[in-house]
């Protein structure tokens, strides 16, 4: 599945370039031909569930693992063969990995010392970093005395202190509680933008990725499913996998029957006609908020998707009602509809028509891991 990956308006010569990375452990291929670009000063999120290959990718970029084939370029330089300490990258770990036997000041200054920066300059840089992350008062403390959020900041300060060409963040917020997570992710984003720090951010949290990224790359079992801006991924997910990740709750399998695309599922193919929308389409998806319940009769030539369904449950959500509906013509399939308060409502047991207008219909193709995928 070749993707339109280069952004013509970007200058990539200074950023990160992953070219055809392939990695396997034993007989297991963990990364298939991954290629990505991150422009200078941009933040790319690697998004996916555990096992999708995002941490492996990070390790390859950092230099802690070697790939089977492929190249990594950073700032115009080929760093494929470089050991971790020679790459101009710095990592923020999920568990912070602060040096417990050193003070905050020594932690933050560690990289500078390792790179032989003279004492005075180191001290100055460290002070600046501590101020930047608002932890100036914690300088003489030890990591064991700090809260999770504070440790997080020290970890960040330590990584940024060496002014890396590339900042790598490995699910840095996973160990924090929700409120902190939301606060700190915005701070990280703000900091990253201020410093124009090129960054790769690994996460399994779709909301996090949407909020802080310039670009998102969704990974699935070592394949790159889709790559684009948050808007693109949210509004136009391309595969069933990505759509599912982006919270598209209704994803129905379709297949061609007598020249028309119909909803299938459970092997039955007597479902509603789907307006044909894309080549090799295997599913159609729509968000509950883009579906509407209607009791009126529709013009049969309407361009919308019309599903006949039976309400099986309803829940009041404040500004809307959420309905679970069983599709009549494809038994066993059910969908969710969010009907705003004020529009026509229904009760469990009612037979209704569920309408999805073209704007809300998402044509979805097979995931990269599906057998039909051609490399």
């Amino acid at each position: 599945m070749k993707d339109e990956m280069t952004r013509p308006e970007q200058d990539h010569s200074d950023g990160l370039s992953l070219r055809n990375l392939r990695k396997s452990y034993g007989g297991n291929v963990v990364l298939h031909d991954l290629s990505l670009e991150v422009g200078r000063g941009k933040l790319l999120s690697l998004l996916g569930p555990s096992g999708c290959g995002k941490t492996t990718t990070l390790n390859l970029i950092a230099g802690f693992a070697g790939m089977d084939s492929g190249e990594i370029h950073l700032g115009g330089k080929d760093i494929t063969a470089d050991p971790p300490n020679r790459r101009d990258t710095a990592i923020v770990f999920q568990n912070y990995a602060l040096f417990p036997h050193m003070t905050v000041i020594d932690n933050v200054g560690y990289g500078l010392k390792a790179q032989k920066m003279p004492g005075k300059a180191t001290a100055a840089r460290v002070t600046k970093m501590l101020e930047l992350l608002d932890i100036g008062a914690l300088g003489k403390r030890y990591p064991g005395e700090l809260s999770g959020g504070q440790q997080q900041r020290v970890s960040l300060a330590r990584a940024i202190a060496v002014h890396p060409s590339l900042l790598l963040l490995d699910e840095p917020l996973s160990n924090l509680d929700t409120k902190l997570r939301q606060e700190i992710r915005l701070e990280i984003r703000k900091l990253q933008q201020e410093l124009e720090q090129t960054a790769v951010f690994v996460t399994h949290d779709q909301e996090e990725a949407l909020v802080i990224s310039d670009y998102i790359a969704v990974l699935n079992k070592g394949w790159l499913e889709q790559h684009g801006t948050p808007q693109e991924l949210w509004e136009q997910p391309r595969t069933a996998y990505v759509a599912d990740f982006m919270g598209v709750e209704n994803i129905l399998e379709v297949s061609e029957v007598d020249g028309q695309l119909r909803i299938t599922g459970n092997g039955r193919n007597a479902g509603a006609v789907v307006p044909l929308q894309a080549k090799e389409q295997t599913h159609v998806g729509f968000r509950p908020s883009n579906a509407r319940i209607s009791k009126a009769n529709l013009d049969s030539a309407s361009p919308a998707l019309v599903l006949e369904a039976t309400i099986t449950g309803s829940a009041y959500m404040g500004t809307s009602y959420r309905y679970s509906c069983d599709l009549q013509r494809s038994s066993g399939l059910s969908i969710q509809v969010e009907q705003p308060v004020g529009e026509v409502q229904a009760s469990p047991g009612d037979t209704v028509k569920v309408i999805v207008y073209p704007a809300g219909l998402l044509p979805l193709v097979a995931s990269a891991t599906a057998p039909s995928h051609a490399a």
């Binding site: 300490n85 770990f93 040096f99 036997h101 790179q115 064991g144 990584a159």
Partner: protein
């Protein structure tokens, strides 16, 4: 936390009873009895005849030979421990960062000499290193040397062999430390620009200090008290504490002198290891609360 009823308290003491009894009767009482025994005056049968005298202890300081044995024992133990530590470090690092299956295999391999016992190992080394041993014959027959190899019964040889024998102990102690510290801080250090060695030395080492101290203390004490290796490899030229104590008792029949020497050696070990552990802790463990 279980609520302890008086019922289960009773059971608990019943269960602990035999073990505690054995320890008390077979360990605590005898050990307590040895101290006064060592102050006793020697009777014609060699055993303690009661009485009280510091002679046995004084002799350990005044008698040149005995004093020499003690000092030699501790010096050799110190050097051996250091050597064993140096040899153990790369090995432990390698094992600790290995994949689980290889790791388990290597651990059993490393444990094997320990379980085989010092006697078997020492016998093997004699066969290798003695003047009529394998290496000696091989070097002579290939013309490298023209006389039998004389490296047995020297302090250097004892140190090297005992370092090899102590090795598993230290590896075990340090390895568990290394495993619990993990490699994330080391990786962090590397990603910040530190070379592998620098990362290990400045970041991992300080964190595994407790393991290092524990391992070296253990190795030190084991070496001080070693018997088969000093006997078989040191022989009469390099006398160490345990063989000397044994021969004082069995050959000279002087039990009181033997026990006095044994107790002094034990006491000295305790003091040395205690001071060592304290110093190391002060230096390296400030950040642990």
């Amino acid at each position: 936390m279980k609520k302890t009823s008086s019922h289960s308290r009773l059971y608990s003491w019943l269960l602990l009873g035999p073990g505690v009894l054995l320890l008390t009767v077979m360990l605590i009482i005898p050990m307590l009895g040895v101290l006064p025994f060592s102050f006793g005056e020697r009777t014609s049968s060699g055993f303690s005849g009661g009485g009280f005298s510091f002679d046995n202890y004084v002799r350990l300081f005044t008698d040149e030979y005995l004093r020499g044995v003690i000092i030699r024992t501790f010096v050799i133990a110190a050097v051996t421990t250091l050597l064993a530590l140096i040899l153990a470090m790369p090995m432990t690092y390698f094992i600790s960062r290995s994949k689980p299956r290889l790791k388990g295999f290597l651990m059993i391999l490393i444990l094997f000499p320990l379980l085989a016992g010092g006697v078997v190992q020492s016998i093997g080394w004699v066969a290798i290193l003695s003047s009529s041993g394998i290496i000696s014959q091989w070097l002579q027959s290939s013309g490298v040397i023209d006389r039998p190899l004389e490296i047995m019964q020297t302090p250097q040889t004892i140190i090297i062999i005992m370092a090899l024998i102590d090795l598993p102990m230290i590896v075990l102690a340090i390895q568990s430390s290394m495993d619990s510290v993990g490699d994330s801080t080391e990786r962090a250090a590397q990603s910040l620009g530190a070379s592998k060695f620098r990362a290990f030395w400045t970041v991992t080492m300080p964190q595994i200090m407790p393991g290092i101290v524990a391992g070296t203390s253990l190795a030190f004490v084991l070496t001080v008290n070693a018997y088969p290796t000093p006997v078989l490899i040191g022989g009469s030229q390099v006398r160490m504490a345990s063989p000397e104590i044994y021969s004082i008792v069995t050959r000279d029949g002087d039990w009181t002198q033997g026990t006095a020497m044994a107790l002094i050696v034990v006491a000295l070990s305790f003091v040395i290891v205690g001071v060592y552990a304290k110093l190391m802790s002060q230096r390296f463990d400030k950040w642990r609360r």
